[in-house]
């Protein structure tokens, strides 16, 4: 084989690989393009203010109303409550696995957590319907157990494995040197965790929490099945809500392609994408800051 042949033989695979590697980029661009293409037309019928701040979501009425404020609030409410429940538990688990757990048990607990993370959301939603809903209904004598509380508990269960495993990675990456220093100064284990390990791992922990929140905002099945589906701004944690994701999933099936309702659901998709991408960017920013701070 001549040299030029060898080189050509090397150049073609490189080009092919490079082209294939652009797939992800292409998909991301296509997602943005198609969401905008199918979502922006709704602005012909409703102003941005009406869409974002209108309190009435009656897309099938005549004339329809596309106020997404209750949907956005629903999404944020479930996310906030779920994070409130899940973050402390997740950090506890992370600290446990990274700092307290004997090494032999670690190899069992980590996969258990991982398996929990693989639970299909539709199964958790189902559990919300058949277990949590009747319990809530009876316990608080309310009309329906499908509400903000129910969805948040399930969502919490969904994001615990995500946050815990990422936070555990961050804590485990804290150099052993620092723990030695803390113990040699007479710290108890908890003092070492709370004053040395957690502060040192803070950028990673923060990132873990952000990615958990991102997951919660975008999660669909749990809220579709367990949140009750009323497009109202909730006044208590026992009120039903209708987040953006479940609205899309529930209504897209019955909407003719190209109708205003169809466009408005894509617009809801744009909102979701903006929120999740925003959180993702924040997570990357935290990561970069963390690296710089470490020197």
């Amino acid at each position: 084989m001549k040299d030029s042949d060898t080189l050509r033989g090397d150049r073609i695979p490189k080009r092919v690989i490079t082209v294939l590697a652009s797939t992800g980029m292409a998909i991301m661009l296509f997602i943005l393009y198609f969401l905008l293409r199918e979502g922006l037309p709704v602005l012909r019928h409703a102003s941005l203010g009406e869409l974002l701040l209108g309190s009435y979501w009656y897309p099938t009425y005549d004339p329809p109303e596309f106020g997404m404020f209750p949907l956005v609030v629903g999404s944020l409410a479930v996310t906030a409550l779920a994070s409130l429940l899940a973050v402390p538990v997740s950090l506890g688990l992370a600290a446990f696995i990274s700092e307290v757990c004997p090494r032999s048990l670690r190899e069992i607990f980590k996969p258990i957590l991982e398996v929990l993370g693989f639970f299909p959301s539709v199964v958790l939603g189902f559990i919300g319907m058949v277990v949590i809903a009747p319990w809530l209904q009876e316990r608080f004598s309310i009309l329906t157990g499908l509400n903000l509380m129910n969805a948040s508990i399930l969502m919490g269960i969904m994001i615990v494995p995500v946050v815990a495993s990422l936070a555990e990675d961050a804590m485990a990456a804290v150099p052993k040197d620092l723990r030695d220093a803390a113990y040699a100064l007479g710290s108890t284990r908890w003092e070492t965790i709370s004053r040395v390990v957690i502060p040192s791992a803070l950028p990673g922990i923060l990132q873990a929490c952000l990615l958990g929140v991102m997951r919660a905002v975008g999660e669909t099945m749990v809220v579709l099945m367990a949140s009750g589906g009323a497009a109202l701004v909730p006044r208590s944690v026992l009120d039903p809500v209708r987040p953006l994701t479940s609205t899309i999933a529930a209504e897209m099936g019955e909407t003719p392609v190209g109708s205003d309702h169809y466009f408005s659901l894509f617009f809801a998709g744009i909102l979701l994408l903006v929120i999740t991408l925003g959180i993702n960017v924040a997570a990357m920013w935290v990561e970069r800051r963390g690296m710089r701070w470490r020197g």
């Binding site: 150099p175 040197d177 620092l178 100064l185 007479g186 710290s187 502060p199």
Partner: protein, 254 residues
């Protein structure tokens, strides 16, 4: 110069890591307010022994300690011994400088805060005196609230010493404190160690025999988990009693 009452008194100390017999029948007296150096080839057990003195080996899985170590006459491996209190009395400085990723001030104040000092003025005094004690005050007094990791390696190591003495220990264990430093940083630490013995009992592990000769009062030579010879540094380096010590310090092995 064996003192009347040794700070540490070690008798029949054996340590196993699982199957490995890492320390064999170690016996030793360590005099107060002096510098004792442990020398020996790597893997000889000198660091392991040092870590017995403040029970840092407790964390190592499958590590078993037999025998006795007495600090001021008190068995530190007794069931009733509070490890937290022990480590407050026996401070430690590590091979690589390991300041916490926070400010210089926070680093030094860490220990005192653990032990319940909250008053800012008191803390400030402790930070200042500890940094002075570690010969770092002059260099950092204007930037106490900047990140500790911005300091040079030698400065970081002196900060770690300041952090260790801030809890007012009586003993300072140093595990090859200059092995990660440049010659200048090393010289400053050595100078500091000579000052520190005015107030503390210093036990230092070093792989550098010149260093041991320069700074220590007593030297102990470790080999394969045994203490081969211990005595005043002068004697060890000029007229070693044991053939193996002589071979080691004359550079015939290790």
């Amino acid at each position: 110069m064996p003192a009347a009452t040794p700070k540490f008194l070690v008798r029949a100390l054996n340590l196993h890591y699982g199957e490995h017999h890492a320390l064999k029948n170690v016996e030793m007296d360590i005099a107060p307010k002096s510098v004792t150096a442990f020398i020996g080839p790597s893997g000889c057990g000198k660091s392991t022994f040092l870590r017995c003195l403040n029970r840092m080996n407790d964390f190592i899985l499958g590590c078993r300690v037999e025998g006795e170590i007495k600090l001021d006459g008190m068995d530190i491996y007794a069931a009733s011994t509070d490890v937290i209190a022990l480590r407050r009395k026996v401070g430690m400085v590590f091979q690589r400088p390991n300041p916490f990723p926070s400010s210089i001030w926070e680093n030094v104040a860490y220990g005192p805060r653990l032990h319940g000092i909250r008053n800012k003025t008191v803390l400030q005094e402790i930070v200042e005196s500890s940094l002075k004690g570690a010969a770092l005050w002059e260099e950092v007094q204007d930037k106490l609230h900047t990140p500790a990791l911005a300091l040079s390696g030698g400065q970081q190591q002196r900060l770690c010493i300041a952090r260790a003495i801030a809890v007012e220990p009586e003993v300072l264990l140093m595990d090859e404190p200059t092995s990660a430093l440049d010659p200048l940083g090393t010289a400053r630490i050595e100078e500091l160690v000579r000052e520190l013995k005015e107030r503390y009992t210093v036990v230092i592990v070093t792989h550098n025999m010149q260093q041991a000769a320069r700074i220590s009062d007593m030297t102990c030579f470790f080999l394969m988990g045994e203490t081969i010879e211990m005595g005043p540094t002068q004697e060890i380096f000029t007229s070693p009693q044991d053939r193996r010590t002589e071979d080691y310090i004359t550079g015939r092995f290790g």
